[in-house]
Symmetry: C2
Subunit: 229 residues, 2 copies
DNA sequence: CGGAACGTTGAGTTCGGTCAATGCATGTGG
DNA sequence: CCACATGCATTGACCGAACTCAACGTTCCG
């Protein structure tokens, strides 16, 4: 079985430093699948048969309860998702759907667990990944419990601006309705929050955000590396 | 160095199946400390010098931002806390204070990381622990984003009742103000939520909860193993 | 061209927080 | 043992944040 077609994922952090044998073992039954936009590829509650790795496109992780839905996270290339369920052989806690046309590698959970048992380097990588996801999730909870929706938006904008190169203008990476759900509010409330942030130097035109005076926004948002990286 | 005095922690899940050498290495510089109630033993933002294990008493994990404080979790014996920070050599994301008089083992982070590198069994245990904490944190986020405060309280009561033996009456394990903070609301709002749950068969007298009709409460709370275990 | 989905705005409501007053329990020092 | 202070829980009145519902304009596709 040629591992050539999996060369793109050889370099992700999760597989860094693992033996060639281990990589081959992981890929031997793995396959790449192309999904159209807006397709549900995982449903919460199902048992985890595969570890997924996004190669291109993007994937939204979301959750449902009693007629409510909320966006939990978005996965961008190249990274894996929902490894905790795989490792613990427990049901997925989140559903996943493609946001756009996406190529996704699916690695059978059994192979992941095998290699996890045999390759100490892989086990260490899994730990690093999990610890990082766990910390991100704690930060998320702090964000939700300690801040108002306006503050969450402000901090999200600062983070996004930084990631896109710290320029005055940058694009939102989400549809606004999804951003609202991710930030834990309704689309209507997001609209109003954007309006309210005008007094702190934020203007939005479609997907483009103009941030006149980051210093002013920072003063309002009070970002901290203990929540916002 | 006698490991006898650490016998209590030899049996926790995190150390299950690890070699005697590894255990000795972990305990060689570890020490047990007695804390009075209400003492802050960890402050968020500090670097993680120790892995902590609660032997007796209980520890509250909490976080602060901009004059707000919120309870994130409570740790009961015998278990460790904040292992993610230790493994990643990053600052604590939460503070910790004793809720009552508590005995706590402190294991130097350097030793934890050494053993983690050398003992594959320990590494696996760390993974299991982290995956479990991560999943708990995801559930927490779903609980916060998908439910109202009344629903969170109702589900908390059902969970607590189950853990205390499924009897009609059981004690709250928290002070009410801490429970409120843990559930993401104010003490005043918790009081009102308790009143509101009377119509679903819940009555509170001090620390004792009487649940006349669990079925009725379940109907309202709609618990699910994807959030509530 | 027409329909669907998205984003925005307004009006009204609900949920949850703030502030203040009170009662109760606990603990401390005289 | 009492007097007092302190802190927690509850209640009421009020306020503010966020949600719901509805209407409307825009954009994007079929």
């Amino acid at each position: 079985m040629p591992t050539a077609k999996f060369s793109e994922i050889r370099d992700i952090e999760l597989f860094e430093g693992i033996s060639e044998d281990s990589f081959v073992a992981l890929m031997k039954a793995a396959y790449i699948q192309n999904f159209p936009p807006n397709v549900e590829i995982i449903t919460e509650g199902e048992t985890s048969d595969f570890l997924h790795v996004v190669l291109t496109g993007s994937v939204e992780l979301f959750a449902n309860w009693s007629n409510n839905e909320t966006t939990m996270a978005t996965v961008w290339p190249v990274s894996s998702f929902i490894i905790a369920a795989t490792i613990r052989s427990e049901p997925y806690l989140m559903s996943a759907r493609t946001q756009e046309k996406s190529r996704i590698v699916m690695v059978p959970s059994a192979d992941v667990k095998d290699v996890f048992e045999k390759d100490a380097e892989f086990a260490k990588n899994v730990v690093t990944e999990l610890a990082s996801c766990y910390r991100a999730s704690i930060k998320n909870a702090k964000n939700l419990k300690l801040r108002t929706s306006k503050e969450r938006l402000a901090n999200y904008l600062l983070k996004t601006q930084k990631k896109s190169g710290a320029g005055q203008s940058f694009p939102l990476k989400y549809e606004k309705r999804r951003l609202a759900s991710y930030l834990g509010m309704t689309p209507e409330n997001l609209s109003r929050a954007f309006s309210a942030l005008r007094e702190h130097g934020v203007n939005v035109d479609g997907q483009i955000v103009h941030m006149e005076n980051p210093g002013k926004l920072i003063e309002f948002a009070k970002p901290t590396h203990l929540i916002d990286e």
